[in-house]
């Protein structure tokens, strides 16, 4: 297998409308060469539309698409040299596995001997050499998707687009193929853009995750960044569980306080946070919270409240407590539980002030912050 280095992708002001529906509303995104980028977002948020625009199946109403150093808007899909893997495999049912894989090479009028060699090599990579002569319908779903992968990679594209390629497979097989796809990504060095609406899959697979919401990008960040420093409430809630307190922000002396119902909690003094915001949200991840018996002393660097245990759930290696306090519900994950609690126990719930994450409440809204991508001049058409 020749390792060819993937190319970068630049999307600038990419917009697509279908009648009254704005499927994509001026997306800006930079994907690094060789990166594994995941598009994550709820149904109808514009993930497939973005892939279709990059692949050339539909043309944008506005914006630019640059792959490598090529401007792609207006270039028909068969001249783009981009591999695409579809959710339902899209294998040609009338061709055998090897002919499916040879298809893009024959379209490029490659010499017979080279076709045979390259098909052999890529089938080796996806581990299907022994099934080369089968017809697609004689393969399992997982095997079919491997063939589709091989077919999309055999012509050495510099970019591979995968639209929910594992959506039709059962959980076990999906997990196997996730690792397989990661391995292939490492092996071939091509830039991968992978669409999913499964957050766990996104965490397993990616270098970076682009969170889509309603035709716009909510946040683009590494998995850990996205989990530990989500910028919007939407991003925080889409990836992982979270405790959310909403309400107005106030400045009290040199402290920043969020008033949520009867509860007032201190929030990390984010340098430029605007205390005049009348609705903000504080996100605290369940494993950042701490539960101790009622009456336990609390450190001044913590927020705390008194709560009642509603439920105790064992989740394999950890224990999840469901609590109620100050009229709100809280989830707490404990990796190494110290005390036993039962329904009805009164406890002290606390978290370090700096474990809280202040996020933007409004979907699609942007809070300027340090990790925002450098703003590039939006090109106009």
């Amino acid at each position: 297998m020749t390792t060819n280095y993937g190319v970068g992708v630049e999307l600038r002001g990419l917009t697509k409308r279908y009648g009254d529906v704005t499927a994509l509303d001026g997306i800006d995104l930079t994907i690094a060469p060789g990166e594994f980028m995941t598009f994550l977002g709820p149904s109808g948020s514009g993930k497939t539309t973005t892939l279709n625009l990059i692949a050339g199946f539909v043309e944008p109403d506005a914006g630019h698409i640059v792959v490598g150093d090529r401007q792609l808007v207006g270039v028909p899909p068969h001249r783009r040299n981009i591999g695409v893997v579809f959710q339902n495999y899209a294998l040609f049912p009338h061709l055998r596995v090897e002919d499916n894989v040879a298809f893009p090479l024959r379209e490029r009028r490659m010499k017979k001997a080279d076709v045979t060699r390259k098909v052999g090599e890529i089938l080796e990579v996806v581990g299907l050499s022994h099934l080369a002569r089968r017809s697609p319908r004689e393969l399992s779903g997982g095997q079919q998707q491997r063939v589709a992968l091989a077919r999309a990679l055999v012509f050495d594209p510099q970019l591979l687009l995968l639209d929910e390629p594992l959506g039709a497979l059962d959980k076990r097989l999906r997990e196997d193929l996730q690792l397989e796809i990661k391995r292939i990504h490492n092996e071939v060095g091509v830039t991968f853009v992978f669409v999913t609406h499964d957050q766990e899959e996104a965490l397993v697979m990616s270098n970076r995750i682009a969170v889509f919401n309603n035709g716009a990008l909510e946040q683009v960040a590494t998995s850990s960044e996205l989990y530990e420093r989500p910028r919007t409430l939407f991003a925080a809630q889409f990836l992982g569980d979270s405790n959310v307190l909403r309400g107005p922000l106030q400045r009290r002396g040199d402290r920043l306080v969020l008033q949520s119902g009867t509860l007032s909690v201190e929030v990390p003094g984010h340098g430029g946070a605007d205390p005049a915001v009348n609705e903000a949200a504080l996100v605290v991840r369940p494993e950042k919270m701490r539960v101790r018996p009622h009456g336990h002393a609390v450190s001044p660097t913590d927020n705390s409240l008194v709560a009642d245990v509603v439920d105790v759930i064992y989740l394999g290696g950890r224990r999840r407590l469901v609590l109620e306090g100050a009229g709100q519900k809280f989830l707490v994950d404990e990796m190494a539980p110290e005390e036993q609690y039962a329904h009805g126990d009164r406890v002290v719930l606390s978290w370090r002030i700096d474990a809280g994450i202040l996020v933007d409440v409004h979907p699609g809204g942007s809070t300027p912050s340090a990790d925002a991508p450098p703003s590039l001049e939006r090109a106009t058409l």
Binding site: A55, G56, F57, P76, P77, H78, R80, N81, I82, G83, V84, F86, N88, A90, L91, F92, P93, H94, F103, P104, E107, R108, R151, A152, F155
Partner: protein, 266 residues
């Protein structure tokens, strides 16, 4: 054996007998021409002895075999043209056209629905104006109009089961529109296309109404010649001609049957 299953078998055999009866009712009147064509008598009556004289007559009389040849030549070319045009029309109806899809389909189907005589009068009028009566291309054009709906119907049915993603996949793999059609779409809708071609051929092959208008002493298709012969003479050659027509039609229908069995298997 239980009463229920006995009743089941009984009703099934009644059904079978009924089907055979209906089948015979449909086919027998047509098959009457077969024994007559082998008759040794000189009029249109059931034979006393066996003879091939009417077949000999058919292949020696230029009026008869000329008509047969013309019909075949027209039929084959109609099948080719109607299949090409009908397939393209079906693809357009399948993929695009938006709000025009319904009207466009109705327009294409019209020749199948409008009474034959009315279509014939229209075509006759146009043919007179353009000098296409009694000409090879006159028959071809007229029959093509009549045959296109059959191709549209069969190809549309094939396209309904065709996964449009395959064309996208082909494009992403480097196949231009023509290549994608030839290597991916056509092989997969081939059953509908071939069926359409067979129907188009048959439509032209046994078409009589429009052909009567377009025919004349210098150009007659076989169905027209048969009609003329029956109405004007008692020559049993017409039975031989009819039997030949019947044979060709049956062969095409059997081809069609074989094709659909093959399709089922796949």
């Amino acid at each position: 054996m239980s009463a229920a299953s006995r009743r089941g078998i009984l009703s099934r055999s009644v059904l079978r007998v009924w089907c055979v009866l209906v089948g015979l009712l449909l086919v027998l009147p047509t098959l009457v021409v077969v024994p007559i064509s082998f008759s040794d008598r000189r009029s249109l009556m059931l034979p006393r002895g066996f003879s091939l004289q009417w077949y000999v007559n058919f292949f020696q009389d230029p009026q008869w075999y000329g008509a047969a040849l013309l019909t075949l030549r027209v039929g084959v070319v109609v099948a080719v043209i109607a299949t090409a045009l009908g397939t393209m029309a079906a693809m357009a109806l399948h993929s695009a056209l938006g709000q025009w899809r319904g009207p466009a389909r109705a327009f294409l189907m019209a020749p199948m629905i409008v009474p034959g005589v009315i279509t014939a009068i229209g075509i006759f009028y146009v043919a007179l104006k353009t000098g296409l009566t009694q000409s090879y291309w006159g028959f071809v054009l007229a029959h093509t109009v009549l045959a296109i709906p059959f191709v549209v119907v069969t190809v549309t049915a094939s396209l309904a089961g065709f996964d449009g993603q395959l064309v996208k996949a082909a494009a992403s793999l480097g196949a231009g529109p023509v290549s994608a059609f030839r290597k991916v779409m056509l092989p997969l809708i081939a059953p509908g296309v071939v069926t359409g071609a067979l129907f188009a051929f048959l439509t032209s092959f046994d078409e009589a109404i429009v052909s009567i208008f377009l025919s004349g002493p210098f150009a007659q298709t076989l169905p027209v010649k048969i009609y003329a012969s029956v109405t004007q003479t008692f020559d049993p050659t017409v039975a031989a001609a009819s039997t030949l027509l019947l044979t060709v039609t049956t062969v095409v229908l059997i081809l069609f049957g074989v094709l659909s069995v093959v399709r089922e298997r796949r």
